[in-house]
């Protein structure tokens, strides 16, 4: 087990041993080890690399470093800049898991149920990868290739995630069969971007990778009152929105739920996310009533 103290040292160690497993919070990796699904010969920790910690603003972007934990996502001012990410973080595991688990780990694991992933999809985030040879930036939709598969190359690490910090309404809803500590049966992230005047929807746990819902997004965009910053839709239009979101899902039957329920629930959540969406005013406050 190596514990590099700088990014350069980390990249050099990774280049020297491309078969080593990286470990951040260990909340996915150690589960794999305990279940005997992985038995790493060598492990390199990213947890003490200062360049991978915390987050910062850069222009109209927020840079989330790979070792940013869920607990950190839930704290102000980050939770005010990216409320959907904070809401998603709040649904992850228990306090212990939220103190240890990281956004980089969630991305690298690329589980269909990874809770930050639909948020990052709706935000159209960019994943910044780095190796001893240099770096590259990949849209999150290209980074996650399929179930638990990413485009991370040997010798590469996730350095950070870039997300827009524009004026936007954000919502995250997750369905699980208990009130906490639960893997998503489905989830929905909504971002209504006031500058681009676009609504984006990220759907989680209803496909091999986090999905977008283009037709539902189009409808939602047209139904949002961008001047007042609130949704304006009839019951019928809301029902249609739910239907379009459901249609975008590609769910499966498994022991956690059925495809039928997931398809239904993701529509309900998309509709509810939209109904709740409120643009903040210039000071960042959200209007409460339409």
């Amino acid at each position: 087990m190596l514990v590099p103290a700088s990014l350069d040292e980390l990249l050099a160690s990774v280049a020297a041993d491309t078969r080593a497993d990286l470990i951040a919070g260990g909340t996915d990796l150690m589960v794999e080890v305990n279940f005997g699904r992985r038995s790493p010969e060598s492990v390199i920790s990213v947890a003490l690399v200062p360049e991978l910690k915390s987050w910062y603003r850069s222009g109209d972007e927020v840079i989330l470093n790979a070792a940013l934990t869920y607990s950190e996502m839930m704290r102000p001012p980050l939770c005010e800049l990216l409320p959907a990410l904070a809401q998603a973080a709040r649904t992850v595991g228990s306090p212990q898991i939220r103190n240890a688990g990281t956004i980089g780990g969630n991305l690298a694991t690329a589980s269909p149920a990874g809770d930050t992933l639909p948020v990052l999809a709706a935000l159209e985030a960019t994943v910044v990868l780095e190796s001893a040879e240099g770096g590259r930036a990949v849209p999150v939709g290209e980074f996650i290739v399929s179930v638990k598969r990413t485009s991370l190359a040997p010798g590469e690490i996730i350095r950070s995630v870039r997300v827009p910090a524009r004026r936007a309404a954000q919502e995250f809803l997750k369905v699980g069969t208990r009130n906490a500590m639960v893997i998503a049966v489905c989830s929905v992230a909504l971002v209504a971007d006031a500058e681009r005047r676009e609504v984006h929807l990220g759907l989680g746990s209803v496909g091999p990778v986090p999905l977008r819902a283009p037709r539902a997004e189009e409808l939602a965009t047209s139904l949002f009152d961008w001047d007042e910053g609130v949704p304006r839709a009839s019951e019928k239009e809301l029902a249609r929105l739910a239907e379009l979101a459901s249609e975008a899902a590609r769910p499966i039957d498994d022991h956690r739920s059925t495809a039928r329920y997931r398809r239904h629930a993701v529509g309900v959540c998309a509709r509810r996310a939209f109904e709740r969406a409120r643009l903040p005013d210039a000071t960042g406050r959200r209007s409460v009533t339409p």
Partner: protein, 796 residues
């Protein structure tokens, strides 16, 4: 004791409900203040601080680690096993197969039908095939994986209904039906003007105790072995282990180690035989600790049930007849299936006066995981069905469901459908009335939130309002689509073992230099027996210094820590042993002082004379003299059910009622249990805090079965053997528990009149929650656990 109405006992009461009362307010002094007070349990603080030594913490110098290899198939023929590669791995000390079992190749609680290791066929996923001992747990795991077993998979029998068909080939030479009970009571030809019919299902629940199976076996160098293990019943383990090892029971000494919960899952042998075989084969101490995943395969589960019912009543709601067909899936081996079925049949009609009954009940063998004891033991499954039926009947009659229950409530002196007359207490109407009278939780959440159904501007944190809605942290609920429902259910079961299985409990009380030592083989599994035994000794002897010695097989059997029986049985033995010690002490002291023993009393650690003429410290009074008494306690005799399912099969009964208040998101089908109110027949409260603990814990398990806990099977494979996917309630799922009343009608024959309190909380809590969800949704919801899709997609 009747607590003030509205006494809530649990955590985080939402705004508007009564604040949790401090446990001390539940205290009520008894004779000496020992019985009836919330004495602290000695293991409480160490457990909270992580300092309690569980069996998984055991250590022995030079111990090896054991690992069991299990079948990946629900049904397969074993064509051959080659353990060469496993043996050759460095650090491996032995690999054992069926041929290495020197004694009985099989074991079992009731029938010895379960192989120590499978040799010709495997009958369920997870059945042990081989065991390895190695220097390190990881080496042991790798070695187990290197044992090459060639299987020819067979078509598994996974449908219990198919197991009943005569044409279905037997899964085991003993056949596919463990037991059939045909219970006929009264005139089953009687008809009544009103009848309701329904079919119900219960899924397979796991006991999900916190401490996975673990133990340490130490060979004694003379061919015998000492086994330190978590179990519910040392002697029944001893008997089975010794038989399999080919040793005398005296050569296999069992010692109870720190038990991390049991709930029935530790009644059967799990690792006991394997670990002793490994220790004897290597001559070294061997330790085994199951992982959580292995634990799911290593113990029995609650029987899944399919039930059909018809209730017939006259127009004013008096039950005339109950007909039921009950089918339990026993899985691959017998375990305690026959006794579970007996309970299901005996209690099939609920705590009601039912003059005519016809119950056909079967428990069958399949290639599903073996099922056996779990808290509630057969009474839980039928309660789900008969209470749903009572609600249906109430609806059909246009009657209030509480009134219907009261009209039919059993009372002392009434006859059960087994023909047994209840001689003890049966305050059924009392528990129903008290439970129904509990104040409703406030506020009603509906409409409590913003117009948009969301919570804009609400911060991210535990305290936010949304945590109280269905879905909790997921923020998925829309308050406008949340409906509240209320349901009430009543249940009961037997205390102690039944049907002629009249086991006894031995205990010793020793008084030496002012200190009392209580010895028994009774298993403290977390329920608080040690505290109770101390309280009983203090109550009888007036001595505060009471030590409960570690439980082992050095004394006679205490019987099992199950069937809500230990407070009564070992409690009874301890009470009598202490009384005998007391009498002897008084005689000794009386003789020394030329007094009459009848005029002396033990109080505050002293021998005192009635008239104040003597007040002597026990240490002074007795000096070196040791007074010891050993007692074997027996309960009233019971008898097996006859061919019509009739007979005085049970010793005593305990009753409880639960009222559930739930909020349901109609579109997503998510359920938040807001509050459970309960009233329970306890005979007498021995330790109020421990009673509350049993009520809360039992309700948590009942809630789990109602809305989330199920072992999901697909073709005999377990799909969710982990706490990631086998969901048990978290603190955020646990509702406020409002103990409306603990009904104290002392049970004749029971020590201090106390009834066991462990099981009733799980019996009707599930049924009450299911009823509340039905009330909120208007859906039939005949299966538990109720899953979100059953609600959101309309019905079952």
């Amino acid at each position: 004791m009747t607590l003030a109405p509205g006494t809530t006992s649990t955590r985080s009461a939402p705004a508007g409900t009564a604040a949790p009362s401090a446990p001390s307010t539940l205290d009520r002094p008894g004779m000496t203040g020992a019985i009836g007070s919330s004495r602290r349990r000695p293991d409480g603080v160490p457990k909270v601080r992580g300092e309690f030594a569980f069996s998984s913490d055991l250590f022995a110098e030079g111990a090896l680690w054991g690992q069991v290899l299990r079948s990946p198939h629900p049904a397969a023929r074993i064509l051959g096993i080659d353990s060469t590669r496993a043996r050759d791995l460095a650090g491996v000390h032995t690999v054992l197969l069926a041929a290495d079992v020197p004694g009985s190749p099989t074991y079992g609680l009731d029938r010895k039908d379960q192989p120590v290791f499978a040799s010709d066929v495997v009958r369920y996923t997870g059945e042990p095939v081989a065991a390895v001992a190695a220097d390190h747990p990881e080496i042991a795991r790798r070695a187990a994986a290197l044992v090459e077993v060639r299987y020819a998979p067979l078509e598994p029998l996974v449908d219990p209904a198919k197991a009943l068909e005569p044409a279905t080939p037997p899964v085991h030479p003993d056949g596919n039906v463990f037991r059939h009970i045909s219970l006929v009571h009264g005139d089953v030809g009687t008809e009544a003007p009103v009848a309701v019919e329904g079919s119900y299902e219960v899924g397979m629940q796991d006991q999900a105790f916190m401490g996975p199976e673990s133990g340490l076996a130490i060979p004694d160098g003379a061919g015998g072995v000492d086994l330190y293990v978590s179990t519910q019943w040392l002697h029944v383990d001893q008997e089975q282990v010794a038989a399999c090892l080919g040793l005398e029971p005296t050569e296999v000494r069992l010692h109870l180690s720190g038990v991390g919960g049991a709930f029935g899952a530790r009644e059967d042998v799990s690792l006991q035989v394997h670990i002793c075989l490994l220790a004897l084969a290597t001559g070294r101490p061997v330790k085994i600790v199951y992982s959580r995943e292995e634990s799911f395969f290593g113990h029995v589960h609650r029987h899944p049930a399919r039930m059909w019912y018809r209730h017939s009543a006259d127009r004013d709601g008096r039950l005339v007849k109950v007909e039921a067909r009950i089918l339990l899936d026993g899985g691959a081996y017998a375990s305690s299936s026959t006794a579970v079925l007996s309970n299901a049949a005996c209690f099939a009609a609920g705590p009601y006066k039912v003059p005519n009954a016809h119950v056909e009940a079967d428990v069958v063998r399949t290639n599903n995981p073996p099922c056996g004891a779990m808290r509630g033991f057969g009474a839980v499954q039928v309660c789900h069905a008969y209470e749903a039926q009572m609600d249906r009947l109430a609806a059909e009659l246009g009657m209030d469901p509480v009134d219907l229950r009261l009209r039919n409530a059993l009372a002392s002196g009434d006859e059960l459908i087994t023909g047994q007359v209840i001689k003890g207490t049966a305050p059924v109407a009392e528990v129903i009335r008290a439970c129904a009278a509990a104040p409703m939780p406030m506020p009603d959440r509906q409409g409590a939130l913003g117009e948009d159904g969301g919570r804009n501007g609400v911060g991210i944190g535990e305290e936010s309002e949304e945590m109280a809605l269905p879905g909790g942290a997921g923020r998925s609920a829309d308050a406008r689509r949340v409906r509240r429902g209320v349901g009430l259910a009543v249940g009961f079961k037997n205390l102690m073992y039944s049907e002629g299985f009249d086991d006894s409990a031995a205990a010793a009380c020793r008084l030496e230099r002012g200190v009392v030592t209580i010895t028994s083989a009774a298993a403290e599994v977390g329920q608080g027996l040690v505290t109770l035994l101390q309280q009983i000794a203090t109550e009888v002897l007036g001595i505060e210094k009471v030590v409960v010695a570690p439980a082992d097989t050095g004394i006679g059997s205490a019987g099992s820590t199950s069937a809500s029986r230990q407070s009564w049985m070992t409690g009874g033995a301890v009470e009598i042993a202490c009384r005998r010690v007391r009498n002897r002490v008084l005689e000794i002291v009386a003789a020394r002082h030329g007094l009459v023993a009848g005029l002396l009393e033990l109080s505050g650690g002293k021998v005192v004379a009635f008239d104040g003429s003597l007040a002597e410290d026990l240490e002074t009074a007795l000096g070196d003299e040791v007074v010891e008494e050993t007692v074997t306690y027996c309960h009233a005799k019971t008898m097996p059910l006859d061919g019509n399912g009739q007979g005085d099969a049970h010793v005593s009964f305990a009753f409880a009622a639960h009222r559930a208040v739930v909020d349901v998101d109609l579109d997503l089908g998510l359920v938040k249990v807001v509050e459970i109110a309960t009233a329970q027949d306890v005979g007498r409260v021995l330790n109020p805090l421990q009673v509350v603990g049993q009520l809360e814990g039992g309700i948590a398990q009942g809630l789990g079965l109602a809305v989330m806990e199920e072992i999901v099977l697909e073709d005999g494979l377990v799909k969710n053997p982990s706490f990631t996917d086998y969901l048990i309630p978290t603190a955020l799922d646990m509702p406020v528990v409002r103990i409306s009343s603990l009904i104290e009608e002392p049970e004749p024959g029971a020590p201090f009149g106390a009834k066991g309190v462990g099981e009733p909380p799980t019996i009707s809590s599930t049924a009450a929650i299911a009823a509340a969800v039905r009330a909120a949704t208007g859906l039939p919801l005949t299966r538990v656990p109720i899953r979100p899709e059953h609600i959101a997609l309309g019905g079952d």
